[in-house]
């Protein structure tokens, strides 16, 4: 764990609220999410489809399509500066320079009509004002660093000529070209085969250490989280239900959702006769249940769960969960 002395976090998301739809008929996609990311830390954000994990990441870079979506409340502080108030020009300076992002599908993030070398060079020319030759030389170095074979030849290839794993390496090269302080990786290995996924995760971990960069890793894969991150936040239906060090959350999961989610993974390590399931399904944004959003699926739900959203309880230093039942243990 990082020694969280008085040093303020590099990035801090405070009570973020993101809504979709026309005023008066908004649907709340992110409902009061607070997260912080320290310098050099790897934070995982996990949850199932529609829980708001990707939207949280997009909010940081102000990439939510507006309309229909918008940030309706909260602050996002980067080194103390509130990004929710930053203008487009300011954001363009920050994107790729201070905070970079990589996505699940590199083919859609790369421009199909430009050569790989030009795409890496563009970032460097825009942010670091490098000349064409310098940018190309630096692009070559980056390709080597991200483990691309025959880098000189690859500089002049187009994205469609490369495999999925190689495209993701190119995306990483582009993202890291200007040595950002923060890398947001949104399901970076979900589209890849497992042996290639392992290579990309290894690469990200090495680069993160080498550059001392902070990483926010968005994923649905609890195995990836367990192996890669320092701290993890579990999201459900637009809220964080549990957060803590990866060891605490995985070994002492305290929110019923986290516990059930971990148990429902078909594990390679042991053999269960039946998989644990979570009854029902994730609620849609238009029909969010009142109170604790998980209560309709929760085996331990009680009447009070329907009435109000549970507050966060600190179970142990740095380990919090939002469940009424935790209050009992504390007071009873």
């Amino acid at each position: 764990m990082q020694q969280s002395a008085p040093a303020p976090p590099l990035l801090s998301i405070e009570d973020l609220r993101v809504v979709f739809g026309p005023p008066g008929r908004e649907q709340v996609a992110i409902d009061g999410v607070s997260l912080s990311l320290a310098r050099g830390e790897v934070l995982g954000v996990v949850g199932e489809s529609g829980c708001g994990k990707s939207l949280t990441a997009l909010s940081v870079l102000k990439l939510i399509p507006d309309p229909p979506g918008r940030i309706a409340g909260g602050r996002i502080l980067l080194d103390g500066k509130d990004l929710t108030r930053a203008g487009e020009r300011e954001m363009n300076r920050i994107r790729g320079k201070e905070i970079s992002m990589i996505f699940q599908e590199p083919m859609t993030a790369l421009n199909p009509v430009f050569r790989v070398g030009e795409q890496i060079g563009e970032t460097l020319r825009v942010h670091d004002r490098l000349g064409r030759t310098e940018a190309r030389a630096r692009a070559l170095q980056l390709l080597e660093r991200v483990g691309i074979s025959n880098p000189l030849q690859r500089l002049d290839q187009y994205p469609h000529e490369l495999s999925g794993g190689m495209r993701q390496r190119i995306m990483i090269a582009i993202a890291l070209a200007c040595r950002p302080k923060i890398l947001i990786a949104d399901e970076p290995t979900t589209a890849l085969d497992v042996t290639i996924q392992a290579q990309i995760l290894q690469l990200l971990r090495d680069l993160q250490r080498e550059m001392g960069m902070a990483v926010m890793l968005i994923t649905h894969d609890l195995g990836v989280v367990a192996q890669v991150v320092d701290r993890v936040a579990v999201m459900y239906a637009g809220r964080i239900v549990e957060e803590g060090s990866v060891a605490d959350v995985f070994e002492r999961p305290s929110h019923p959702y986290t516990r059930l989610l971990l148990q429902s993974i078909p594990s390679l390590e042991h053999q269960q006769d039946r998989l644990q399931t979570i009854p029902g399904m994730v609620p849609s944004l238009s029909r969010l249940p009142p109170g604790c959003r998980f209560h309709p699926r929760c085996p331990d739900a009680r009447p009070a769960c329907r009435e109000q959203a549970p507050a966060s309880f600190e179970i142990r230093p740095g380990h919090v969960a939002a469940c009424i039942a935790l209050n009992d243990y504390r007071h009873g």
Partner: protein
């Protein structure tokens, strides 16, 4: 090795329900605009031998391009094999006329990965489930209606949903519709092609449990194709691992997961991230990319990535040989095992 005997069928079992020998599918690559001519071939499936016993689940795993999906379609003759034989219940399917094959398909069904893509968006659930019955002229309108209700009940869909359209359902519910459709004709054998890959983990568990319950209830035989080794460990009795069109290892589940013999199987298992932070893994057990199936490496297809590669591996393709009881692998480096002579050293 553990002392418990493999649960699946072994040594002296009756004839398998499905028997595949020398199965090959080469897709020609055409070149030329006016007079397209074949200029090479993608060797999607390159000589497979395997059996599946009645009531058994054979898991078929491998990474993209290994040929697992094509294998599932070849077995059902949705794609015509280039060579080899597929026997179902003792009958050679490849020699059957199309009309006869259509009849056999009542017994052989498929469940797809993407239930949304495989369900007609303009048909209601009851139309979707009724369609196979109508096509095969089974029963009258009333008895088909009863069957549709029964199918919905069996897969856990409420009967009020009968008149809804696929887009009104979640991914998990759509997969239940896909499963119900596959069951409509009371098949004996189902090819399950990545049936839970597109689902969230909590929903995936529901569908996996459902498929196992249905297997027990109806005595179904599954060819379960997946890239997720955890899911396969959970549903399969035996597992075959494919790499670039070939089976590199096939064994009972216990053997395959606890003592994998082929270097590729070992690497594949080692690459799966374990959801337990204290089990710190060396993340990347393999270097290099998966070669293209249109131009696979000579000799052993895996030799370009194998940590134990020898000269012989580059020249000569290894055959699938016994390496343990009910356990076969295709690797030059493994000592053959004499299956007749039971206990090995």
């Amino acid at each position: 090795m553990a002392e418990r005997a493999p649960a699946g069928p072994s040594a002296q079992e009756p004839a398998p329900l499905l028997r595949v020998r020398g199965l090959v599918k080469h897709f020609p690559i055409m070149r030329g605009v006016l007079l397209p001519r074949p200029a090479g071939a993608v060797r999607a499936v390159d000589g497979l031998d395997f059996d599946i016993a009645e009531g058994e689940t054979l898991g078929l795993v491998g990474e993209s391009g290994c040929g697992k999906t094509t294998t599932g379609r070849l077995v059902l003759r949705m794609v015509e094999p280039s060579a080899g034989s597929v026997q179902f219940a003792g009958e050679d399917l490849l020699g059957l006329a199309p009309e006869v094959m259509r009849l056999r398909r009542q017994q052989m069904q498929i469940i797809f990965q993407d239930p949304y893509g495989s369900l007609d968006p303009r048909m209601t659930v009851s139309d979707i489930l009724d369609e196979p019955l109508r096509i095969h002229r089974i029963g009258d309108r009333r008895s088909r209606g009863v069957r549709v209700a029964e199918l919905m009940n069996v897969v856990g869909l409420r009967k009020e949903y009968a008149d809804r359209y696929p887009h009104e359902f979640s991914g998990g519910q759509r997969q239940r519709i896909g499963i119900a459709r596959a069951l409509a004709l009371k098949p004996r054998f189902i090819v399950c092609d990545e049936p839970v890959s597109a689902l969230d983990v909590s929903i995936q568990a529901q569908i996996v449990n459902l498929m196992r319950d249905l297997q027990r209830e109806f005595g179904l035989t599954y060819l379960f194709i997946a890239h997720d080794l955890g899911v396969v460990k959970h549903v399969a009795d035996r597992v075959a691992v494919m790499y670039l069109g070939r089976i590199v290892e096939i064994a009972g589940k216990q053997n395959l997961y606890q003592s994998p013999r082929h270097p590729y199987t070992q690497a594949l298992l080692a690459a799966v991230p374990i959801p337990r932070p204290s089990a710190k893994q060396a993340l990347a057990p393999l270097t290099g990319e998966i070669p293209s199936p249109s131009n696979p490496p000579a000799g052993c297809h895996f030799h370009t990535r194998c940590p134990h590669v020898h000269d012989r591996c580059r020249r000569e393709a290894p055959t699938l040989r016994p390496v343990g009881q009910g356990h076969r692998a295709a690797c030059h480096l493994l000592t053959p095992f004499d299956e007749a002579g039971a206990d090995a050293a």
